[in-house]
Symmetry: C2
Subunit: 221 residues, 2 copies
C-alpha cells in the first residue's frame, strides 16, 4: 500500500477534474496563505491526498507548480490582448476592453495568485518564460495606452502609459487587504477600466465605451 | 572573544549611524532580495558584523525587524497625511500633495520594502499595529479622495476613491520590475499624483495644482 502505484485516496479533497488541477488548487491556497517558502511538496501532497512520489509524477519541482500557477494568471490576458490589438477597434476601446477583462480575471480567480508576483524567487532563470509573458503583456498594455493617448490628443507625463497595467494589478493588493479584514468594497473591473482611461486623458462619460468594449471582448474572448 | 560583550568588528559593513540602523539596512536588503523566510537572524548578524546575541539586544525577533522596516514606510506618509488633512487646503491640492509625497518616498527609499506588504506573515497579530497604521493611511487617502470627487462634482463608480492609494503603491511593483531588468522608465511622483487626480475626475491641466501642492507640502512636511 505504499508503492508508487498506490491508488489515490477515494475521497477527493480538492476542486479540480484531474490530479494535476487538484495539486494546482491546493498549492495556490498554500502558497498564498502560508507562503511559498513555508510550503513543502510534502504538505501539498498531503493536502491533495497523494503520495509525494505521485506528486512528482505531475510536477518535478515546487518551482514547476509555481510556474504553472503564475503562467495561468498571464496567459489568458496575453492571448486576449493580442487579439484585441489586431481587432482594428479604436485604441480607447482596446484599452478599456483589455483592462476590463484582465481586472475581471484577477478579481475572480479562486486564489489571489498575483500576490506572488513580488517573490524574490521569481528573479531566477527558472521563471524567465513567465517573466517574458508578463512583460509582453505589459508591453501590449503600453502600446495600446500610447495609441489611446495619441487618439485623445493628450500629453501625459512620461511613464503614464505604464499605469493602466499597474492599475489592473492593484486588484491583487485590494484582494489581499480585503482578505485581511479591510472592510472597503473592491473597485470592480469597470471601475478599474474607467480609471485606466481617465489616467490617459479620457474625460467624457464611459457608458458607451463600456458597451463597445464588451462587444469587442465578446468577439475576441 | 565570544562573550556577549565582544566589541563589534571595527570595519563598519553597512550604511547607518548606529548598529540598529545597520541591522535595519542589512535586513531590508536581505528580505527584499532573498526573501523574508529565507533570511535567518544569523545571516543578518553576519551581514552587519555582529554576534547574534548582540543583534537580539536590538531586536528580540526577526518579526520585530520586519515590523520596524514596514512601519518606516507608513509612518512618515501617515503623519504628512494627517497634517495635510488639517491644512484647510482644497481637497484636490491635498490629494495631489499626499500622492506626490508618498509616491516620492516609496520610490526614493534605499530598498523596495513595499514588496513585503503581501507576505502572508503580515496577517498575524504581531503586525496589527503596522496594519492599523497602513489602513489609517488608506482611510485618509479615501477621505481626501471623496472630498476631491465632491469638489469636482464627479460621480465615479464605487471603489474609485480607493484608487489613489493603490496607484501610489504601484511604485513598489514598478521598482520591482525595474530591478528585474524591465527597461521602462518609472512613472515619477508627479505622474502618479496627476494620475490619482485624473482617476477622480480632474480633467484640466495640473501645473498650477502641482505648484500649490508642493507649497502645501513645504508647510506641513
Amino acid at each position: 500500500m505504499t508503492g508508487a502505484g498506490r491508488p489515490r485516496l477515494s475521497t477527493k479533497k480538492r476542486p479540480g477534474d484531474t490530479a494535476r488541477e487538484e495539486i494546482l488548487d491546493a498549492s495556490a491556497e498554500l502558497f498564498t496563505t502560508r507562503g511559498f517558502t513555508n510550503t513543502s511538496t510534502r504538505v501539498i501532497a498531503d493536502a491533495v491526498g497523494l503520495r509525494q512520489a505521485s506528486l512528482y509524477h505531475h510536477f518535478a519541482t515546487k518551482d514547476d507548480i509555481l510556474d504553472a500557477l503564475l503562467s495561468g494568471t498571464v496567459d489568458a490576458p496575453l492571448a486576449v490582448a493580442q487579439r484585441i490589438r489586431q481587432s482594428g477597434a479604436e485604441a480607447a476601446t482596446q484599452m478599456y476592453a483589455l483592462a476590463y477583462f484582465d481586472a475581471g480575471q484577477l478579481g475572480a480567480s479562486t486564489w489571489n495568485l498575483g500576490a506572488l508576483y513580488l517573490l524574490p524567487e521569481l528573479r531566477s532563470e527558472r521563471f524567465e518564460t513567465f517573466r517574458d509573458h508578463r512583460y509582453t503583456l505589459m508591453g501590449l498594455y503600453a502600446a495600446i495606452a500610447s495609441d489611446t493617448v495619441a487618439e485623445l490628443g493628450a500629453t501625459p507625463r512620461p511613464g503614464t502609459v505604464d499605469l493602466p497595467f499597474r492599475l489592473v494589478e492593484t486588484v491583487v493588493n485590494a484582494r489581499a487587504d480585503l482578505e485581511n479584514g479591510r472592510p472597503d468594497a473592491l473597485a470592480d473591473a469597470a471601475a478599474i477600466a474607467e480609471a485606466a482611461l481617465r489616467v490617459l486623458g479620457w474625460s467624457a462619460d464611459v457608458s458607451e465605451l463600456h458597451d463597445t468594449a464588451r462587444a469587442l471582448l465578446a468577439k475576441v474572448d
